[in-house]
Symmetry: C2
Subunit: 276 residues, 2 copies
């Protein structure tokens, strides 16, 4: 089997770099030396290990993309760009018939889905590429659906820690609040304990120094009314390798769908996990 | 609605006492002053708070049960006796057409189920009455079934602590090993870390002194191959109140089934949780 041709968009952004580096190392893939970049990027190219990657600015993409697609059969695109670019990029991919994995969060998610459905391409759209966390969320959704009220009377504490640059509350933690509510627990998103102070992260949480700038730690603690029963669920991610693994899985999945001739369909990480 | 008449079998055993005490306090139920007891029990009655309960020895049960059933309409039976009595008791209940909740573990479980299926009564058979733990096991079963291999490459550590009298490994922990195997983790039951030393439990685990004689603490820790991702699931039970709550729920469930005319059916705690 010839390797899957992949264009990683969003270079020189940090997540794009990690994903592109991993693709470069993995013989199931071939990294295409082009990357769509943002209007604020002035440099014409970016060196990743020994590979020189051409950065294509927004005003040049229309004229340059045809050659890139023509010279790389079965090309897939990965998007780790910026929330403000999500919808415009998706429209661009659909117009060029370039199947894509969207790892960028934000933008108008409904519109994002619609543009794919009415296009002739398939796409994986996943705001969270960490397979195991997505799987755990699915377990919670299943419980909420199957056993409503299971934790009635229990008190809940949610703590999450992320790098200090992250202003908003963890999206995963907010999604969990919804499941816990269905399971009978009163709790609001505002009650989530949000840790952003590196000093507290290091000394009280024991987060390794090298990951203070990039981590996502979550703990959910349930205690029964009479305090005799305690449940605790924790998922701690250091760095971004887990998202990279998920992105590669999404690419393999998408490639199989493209080979099967699927068009106008949106998949998410649950589909990737289930290998639909 | 008139209260549900309940006979708690296994007095003066400790779990039976806790369940009977709770039934006495709960106005949805009425505790019937009779209890099937074992051949080793010499005392003719047992005082629970202000209620005197007649203990019926095995050789007397056939002659005494008819009057008990006749004088308590809609009588249900709860069994917290002994593994060696499970099958004989179930046969007895079926013969007397006395619907039952079986909380006793052990015995021939297949035979236990068959006798109910070929009888004219309904029963709830649940080796674990802790609803939330049963719910969590169902979540794990769902994940194992839906996302096989989700934790491939992860290492696993399972620790469980129980009162020093418990010789065997936790049945819940053993069931979890099966789910983790399906999720792609290599692990055997023999690798479960079993804590039975009260000193270790108190000083290293922080188990409260009053629960050293009765607790079930479990922790499952998953770490990714590159050690950047950690999942931890914990369920700690102190004392036996959680089992009592589950038993009362099972009784309410069974009563509704009996009212609906169900015969020859076995239910488990998942059914109770789902309120089938």
């Amino acid at each position: 089997m010839s390797p899957i041709q992949v264009m990683v968009n969003g270079l020189p952004g940090s997540v794009s770099q990690i994903v592109a580096t991993q693709i470069l190392k993995d013989e199931r893939f071939e990294l295409v030396p082009f990357s769509l970049t943002g209007p604020e990027i002035q440099q014409p190219e970016f060196s990743l290990e020994s590979v020189k990657i051409n950065l294509i600015r927004p005003e040049k993409r229309n004229s340059q993309i045809k050659d890139v697609i023509k010279s790389h059969e079965g090309l897939l695109s990965v998007d780790y760009t910026h929330p403000s670019a999500v919808n415009a990029n998706a429209e661009f991919y659909c117009r060029c018939r370039l199947p894509f994995v969207m790892g960028t969060t934000g933008g108008d998610r409904k519109k994002l889905e619609q543009i794919v459905v009415s296009s002739s391409i398939a796409a994986v759209i996943a705001p969270n590429m960490a397979k195991q966390i997505v799987g755990f969320q699915a377990m919670m959704a299943y419980a909420a659906d199957t056993f409503p009220g299971l934790f009635k009377g229990y008190s809940l504490e949610i703590r999450e820690s992320h790098q200090s640059g992250k202003a908003d509350t963890s999206g995963t933690a907010k999604a969990m609040v919804g499941y816990f509510n269905e399971l009978g627990v009163s709790f609001t998103e505002e009650e989530i304990l949000k840790i952003r102070d590196p000093e507290v992260q290091k000394t009280q949480w024991g987060i390794p120094e090298q990951y203070l700038a990039g981590h996502g730690w979550h703990t959910y603690k349930l205690v029964s009314e009479d305090r005799t029963v305690r449940f605790e669920f924790t998922h701690n991610v250091n760095g971004r390798m887990v998202y990279t693994h998920g992105t590669l899985d999404a690419l393999l999945f998408l490639s199989a769908k493209v080979d099967a001739g699927v068009k106008g369909r949106v998949y998410d990480m649950i589909d990737v996990l289930k290998r639909v």
